[in-house]
Symmetry: C2
Subunit: 136 residues, 2 copies
DNA sequence: TAATAACCCTATAACTTTTATAGGGTATTT
DNA sequence: AAATACCCTATAAAAGTTATAGGGTTATTA
């Protein structure tokens, strides 16, 4: 399941993209418009900033803005930052690889093969950019 | 993420299929061979039985056996029984549908569209039968 | 330059889900 | 009748999710 954090994160970048006028948008506005608890949102925003998906502008009239071309920001990136691996088991994850404690031979594990296929099927769908998401 | 319950369940049906000699296999044997905590496994077995994926034979020399043609048992079925929906958000689930509490208009929700596509991409991969899984 | 708006950070609490474990009961075979 | 194995409920330990609290820092603008 997608966590609420991740859902809020996706809503946030989509909102920032669709309301982009070159000016930052405050956490308060995002919180109200997208109905995300303010303090919870702050936490998510910081994480997106740390990973260079957003950048922030401090002071009055400050806020958040996409850190790069929205064509370069994908849903998969956002999900990885917030929830971790796209893959449903860690032994087939590219960026969050972990071996299964009980696994005897990873190369011949059929479950691994199946969920590897699954990951490979999921990825292209989730690699849509914010721009593409906005057009769905 | 796939739960351990679901992983154990998949391992169980794969084990039962590959060691099928027309005789039931005891929970104890499955537990030892697949290294699944016995009491935890019992719980999973009961759930698979309730949903007609396995049937059980009581008494000495009893145990569990696949309830139907292994070509008819899919990984998606097992996952649904144990973990619930395949979809990553409930509003695009076929069998476990739930609306999102905060959603204003489901028809125009882009997140819903994206995760609908994702579900549709995942399903054919997870609809492999136990027989197909064994051959991977 | 003071007030204000907005970001920044750590800790922790409430809640839910996952992962078991305990302890006994019931049915069937040998 | 004893042994084997399934059946069932309750509960606990651990982990993860979803926030909330409370204060600190930075920058703008009146």
């Amino acid at each position: 399941m997608l966590s609420k954090r991740a859902k809020y994160a996706i809503k946030t970048i989509l909102y920032l993209h669709e309301n982009d006028q070159g000016l930052p948008i405050s956490a308060k506005v995002i919180s109200e418009k997208e109905r995300i608890p303010y303090k919870f949102l702050e936490n998510i925003l910081r994480e997106l900033k740390t990973h260079q998906i957003l950048r922030s502008v401090r002071g009055a009239e400050g806020g958040y803005i996409l850190a790069k071309d929205p064509n370069e920001i994908t849903i998969a990136q956002v999900m990885r930052v917030i929830d971790g691996p796209i893959a449903l088991i860690p032994c087939v994850s590219e960026r969050f690889y972990e071996s299964c404690p009980e696994c005897v031979d990873e190369e011949t594990c059929r479950i691994r093969k199946l969920f590897g296929e699954l990951r490979n099927g999921m990825l292209p769908i989730l690699e849509k950019s914010v721009v593409e998401l906005a057009r769905l």
